[in-house]
Symmetry: C2
Subunit: 201 residues, 2 copies
């Protein structure tokens, strides 16, 4: 049973809206997941595509759609004061936890998303990231070192480059067996696709 | 009970995917509908936004997503040979039928979408448009005159300008009581919103 790649930017509300439901769907179909943090702005820049909030009418629509989609999907959400922001710090941490085979990698990622989108931390706040890690038993000194380690920077560059190669142009962007699904609103299609693929195997 | 504006480009597959389900939802909530044909390229150009198929990765994703979404939604669909294409001719006809208060306006629009997305006509084929009209009892000579009438050109310019003023930046784009919904994948939210709005009144 092949896995599913979940490309996401920690600063993407739609990644947060999709997160738990995506996990539920993947588990229901017995599919392992590879969570791949990216910097969406860097991926879009590599494609010469504009950021999602570049154009005023679309920005205005999306800011309202985020609030409405959260209510519709039943996901707790408070627009962070620091939005949009750069998500390079938690991305570096997640990638290094994953490289270490640390079982707290995904719980840490989920806790960061929740802290940002429910409790208004700033993703650039290293002390907030340390507190989130400490709640999971991750040594604050390890986090402090990992935030500026070359390994984290290199892994994030690799993740961005891999995302470009995989066709990613948004967040969240899910790839299952070569089949790509963009956005929280494609989760029903992903579920349907996995059900069909399962019976076709 | 206020009405719902349905802005769409006749050449938009997602408008076709949304068409019948949108009509069902509007009827279920007792809301009158105003179908507003636009030229999406002109609306986007007015906003200095790129067309949806401008960037290669997004284009590749969308062309595949169209096929998959049609299957997922159970909507008959065959990618027209003439895609993308200009939809100014059926847009001019619909606007003039509406101006005349002709009850065949909406059935004509639906028949054109079906002919394009199921039966591979070209939206620039005036004879095909005449045949579709004739099936509904619309005089081919009226169609021929309306295709080049100044009134149709002026009404379409007005519809595009109105769409820009209403915040439209995609197709389909639905506006209900100031609340905007972009895309076939927002129909469940529209349905949910109308149910809530109805109980709130």
């Amino acid at each position: 049973m092949s896995g599913i790649d979940f490309y996401f930017d920690f600063a993407s509300p739609y990644a947060w809206f999709a997160w738990k439901e995506f996990g539920r769907i993947a588990r229901a179909h017995g599919r392992p997941v590879r969570y791949r943090p990216i910097l969406l702005w860097a991926v879009l820049q590599a494609r010469a595509m504009p950021p999602p909030l570049e154009h005023e009418a679309k920005k205005s629509y999306l800011l309202h759609d985020m609030q409405r989609s959260a209510r519709f999907l039943g996901v707790p959400f408070r627009m962070p004061d620091a939005f949009p922001t750069s998500s390079h710090l938690p991305a570096r941490l997640l990638l290094q936890l994953q490289q270490d085979g640390d079982a707290r990698a995904v719980p840490f990622a989920e806790a960061v998303l929740g802290a940002y989108f429910e409790h208004n931390i700033d993703l650039r706040d290293t002390q907030a990231l340390q507190r989130i890690g400490a709640d999971l038993g991750i040594d604050p000194a390890w986090i402090s070192a990992a935030l500026s380690a070359d390994a984290g920077k290199r892994l994030l560059q690799q993740a961005n480059a891999e995302a470009v190669a995989a066709g990613v142009w948004g967040s969240p962007y899910m790839v299952a067996g070569g089949e790509a699904f963009f956005g929280a609103d494609r989760l029903p299609q992903l579920d349907w696709f996995l059900a069909g693929a399962a019976t076709a195997v």
